[in-house]
């Protein structure tokens, strides 16, 4: 078995600044802004009205169908307004403005506790009701992911504790501090997936977490902890499966096609923490780091806390220039500080004006092949980039597997010519998606 996937890159880690800092509770913002679109799938459906007083933990919005999860109130307070709120994509979506009470410890849990012995269907329902989505960043509804399609079977449950993005240390801290919750979560997951073996994958730079988890494995639980080499993007599902199981997920397929299900370690911990109490997700651990902030660290921040408030509290410099939600490799640059923390936010990285090297001159592609040697799925980003520039989008998808690209950013990271490859690919994919939906109308011969 290979001990790692092919290619990949080694960006500077920058984790040492926060990986020793314990998770701290963050203060409640006076105004919480909750967009309903926090996960992949249908937005949650608001079931409260303006002016209504709500308690912490109360369900504010229900799941709108199967590909959706409910939203719980992160604070006790009053619904001020239901209107359009900005989200990170730059769009305005439906959302709730929630004015929090100054000091209210009141908390309700509307759901019913789910025991580990419940049926798989009940557990899945419980996970959905808890509003749990993938906390690694993708925010894919977890119950959907855990539902094993008919005719497929799950043998391996992979717990993803890799966290390969530079700066981020949330999973690291969660593993160190919430080991019991993790194993509780694994119990639920084993039950609902029917997996026979659990592998916790941890990168070599988090040896302490690996040691701790190995130590704490409950007797009789089929869990192994595997330490994998430090390499970006080790944390990507497909890469991790290759590293741990030596199998490749087929192009366009899912981990279940190789009998595996991958769940993020923080998500697992959350399942283990919430389900026994019938609670919903209200806050999450976020790493705040980067040269632009003074009080770096890992914080437990209520969902919906406005970014501006967070930055003020952690002492961000006045001249901040770039803010990313997520890590620096795949995170999204923020254009509007009035957006708020969502379930998918794993980190906030802040750069001040002086920290940015803006003289990245773009040279023509010299076909050096650095990107080919970096792409974890062996695409040819150089060729793809050239094709994208020439707007040959169909060729990119048909002949060069564009759609397999998951935008990890390794190619752009190594490109000596500073070509915005990832942006090209993202653009090409979005255009192709648009064309696919528009096609039937255009050609009617």
């Amino acid at each position: 078995m290979k001990d790692s996937f092919k290619h990949g890159v080694h960006p500077p880690e920058n984790k040492e600044e926060t990986n020793k800092l314990p998770i701290r509770q963050f203060s409640f913002a006076p105004l919480i802004i909750l967009p309903m679109q926090q996960h992949i799938g249908a937005p949650s459906k608001i079931i409260v009205r303006e002016g209504q007083e709500v308690a912490r933990g109360q369900v504010l919005a229900a799941a709108d169908g199967y590909m959706s999860v409910p939203m719980h109130s992160p604070v006790s307070g009053t619904i001020r307004k239901i209107s359009k709120v900005p989200v990170i994509s730059g769009q305005m979506t439906e959302g709730i403005f929630l004015e929090s009470f100054h000091s209210s410890g009141q908390e309700v849990s509307e759901g019913s506790p789910i025991s580990v012995d419940a049926s798989p269907e009940q557990i899945l329902k419980g996970i959905q009701d808890a509003g749990i989505v993938g906390l690694g960043g993708a925010a894919f509804p977890t119950h959907v992911k855990l539902k094993i399609p008919d005719g497929k079977s799950c043998e391996f449950l992979v717990i993803n504790g890799i966290e390969c993005e530079p700066y981020l240390t949330t999973d690291h801290r969660v593993m160190l501090e919430q080991a019991d919750d993790i194993f509780m979560g694994i119990r639920y997951l084993l039950k609902c997936t029917g997996a026979k073996e659990v592998i916790i994958g941890i990168e070599a730079n988090k040896q302490d977490a690996a040691d701790l988890l190995t130590q704490k494995i409950p007797a009789g639980m089929p869990v192994t902890v595997k330490v994998v080499p430090v390499k970006y993007p080790q944390g990507a599902e497909k890469m991790l499966i290759t590293s741990l199981l030596g199998k490749e997920v087929p192009s366009g397929g899912l981990p279940i096609d190789v009998h595996a299900v991958v769940v993020n370690v923080a998500t697992t911990a959350e399942i283990g923490r919430l389900l026994p109490h019938g609670q919903g997700i209200q806050e999450r651990v976020i790493t705040i780091s980067g040269p632009g902030v003074k009080k770096k660290g890992n914080y437990l921040i209520p969902i919906g806390t406005p970014l501006r408030y967070v930055l003020e509290q952690v002492g961000a410099a006045d001249n901040i220039s770039e803010v990313y939600m997520g890590g620096p490799m795949m995170g999204v640059a923020v254009s509007n500080l009035d957006i708020s923390i969502t379930k998918g936010t794993s980190g906030i990285i802040v750069f001040g004006e002086q920290d940015i090297n803006k003289t990245d001159k773009i040279f023509p592609c010299i076909k050096c092949g650095a990107c080919v040697g970096a792409c974890p799925i062996s695409l040819n980003p150089s060729k793809l980039g050239i094709l994208a520039k020439a707007e040959a989008y169909e060729t990119m998808a048909d002949d060069f597997h564009l759609m397999d690209c998951f935008e990890c950013g390794s190619c752009s990271f190594v490109c000596p010519s500073n070509i915005p490859l990832v942006q090209y690919f993202r653009l090409s994919k979005s255009i192709l998606r648009k064309r696919k939906t528009a096609k039937p109308a255009a050609v009617n011969v």
Partner: protein
């Protein structure tokens, strides 16, 4: 609070920090020892030839950019590399006006018409060299012996030939080991070849120094080591087989490796990133192909040396190789071509 306008750009937000111009600069540094040895062994003639080649390349690039209302691209150092490489492949007593013409041709036809750096299909310096070879076959096969007395002070009259006039060859010419072998079956000692105690193009004589430059670039990861390794090993193995078959007709593999422009070509020219395939396997095939052609042309061809043609043909073949050799994409079955 937060008074400045935010900046947004695409992920990834961090970069490795090696840029194209630094790569180019490093290639220039790696070639410096070769250049110095060229001047050391061939004297001021070689210096004049190389300097002229560099000046004409850079000047052509600048002028053409200005003409087409583009920003001058001489700062990316690629024109300097083209100039140095061209200079290194010319005989030390090559007339300066021809050298200048070669530089102009290299940059204008070899690179600029294709759209500049990154788009050139062939190695520009070799395009210039091939042009000169075809245009002035006599001048380009007239060599100066190495380590002549007074080489640092006396300039050959052929170097200073009047523009468009035929150069007059003075009596200092010597034969290259390859033509000596091809036409007179005279073998040159391998150690002389390795150390560069022979005549030849300005930069091709000392294999050892060229290898040092290559190792520097490989260590800095600014060169694909597979290319020189595959070319040289192909030449070594093929000529070794021939040598074993009949050592009276065919030269020894070491002689093949160290003679002529093979080292210079394999290390500095075939490795031109733009003209070589992009995948590791493709690169090995490219190297094998070049090595094969070098052996074929040297052993059976009409010309004593074929490295230049082999590399140019390798460049021409690169799009095909890239077309057929594609890495197997993760999660897919065998690649379809």
């Amino acid at each position: 609070m937060f008074s400045k306008t935010l900046h947004i750009s695409t992920s990834p937000h961090i970069r490795k920090g090696v840029s194209t111009d630094t790569i180019m600069q490093n290639v220039v540094w790696a070639m410096m020892p070769v250049l110095i040895f060229a001047v050391f062994s061939f004297g001021i003639n070689a210096l004049l030839v190389i300097v002229t080649a560099v000046v004409s390349s850079v000047l052509t690039e600048h002028v053409l950019c200005k003409w087409s209302n583009k920003e001058s691209t001489i700062s990316d150092w690629s024109a300097v590399i083209t100039g140095i490489l061209l200079g290194l492949t010319l005989p030390p007593i090559f007339p300066l006006w021809m050298t200048f013409l070669g530089g102009v041709f290299s940059v204008a036809i070899g690179k600029f018409v294709f759209g500049g750096l990154g788009y050139n299909l062939f190695n520009p310096a070799l395009v210039g060299r091939a042009f000169l070879q075809a245009a002035f076959p006599v001048a380009i096969t007239t060599w100066q012996s190495a380590f002549l007395e007074g080489r640092f002070f006396s300039i050959s009259s052929s170097v200073l030939a009047f523009p468009f006039a035929e150069p007059k060859v003075d009596s200092i010419s010597g034969a290259t080991p390859l033509s000596a072998f091809k036409f007179d079956h005279v073998m040159t000692d391998s150690s002389d070849l390795a150390l560069g105690l022979i005549s030849g193009s300005t930069g091709e004589t000392s294999a050892v120094i060229i290898i040092l430059g290559g190792i520097y670039l490989i260590a800095r990861k600014m060169m694909n080591w597979r290319i020189p390794v595959s070319i040289l090993s192909t030449v070594f193995v093929l000529s070794g087989i021939l040598y074993l078959i009949d050592d009276t007709i065919y030269p020894s593999p070491l002689f093949m490796l160290f003679s002529g422009g093979l080292m210079l070509g394999a290390v500095f020219m075939a490795t031109d990133m733009v003209g070589s395939p992009i995948t590791p396997l493709g690169v090995v095939i490219y190297g094998f192909f070049i090595g094969l052609l070098v052996v074929v042309i040297r052993v059976w061809g009409g010309l004593p040396e074929g490295v230049m043609y082999a590399i140019l043909l390798g460049n021409a073949l690169t799009p095909q190789i890239d077309n057929f050799i594609r890495p197997r994409v993760y999660g897919t079955k065998k690649t379809k071509s």
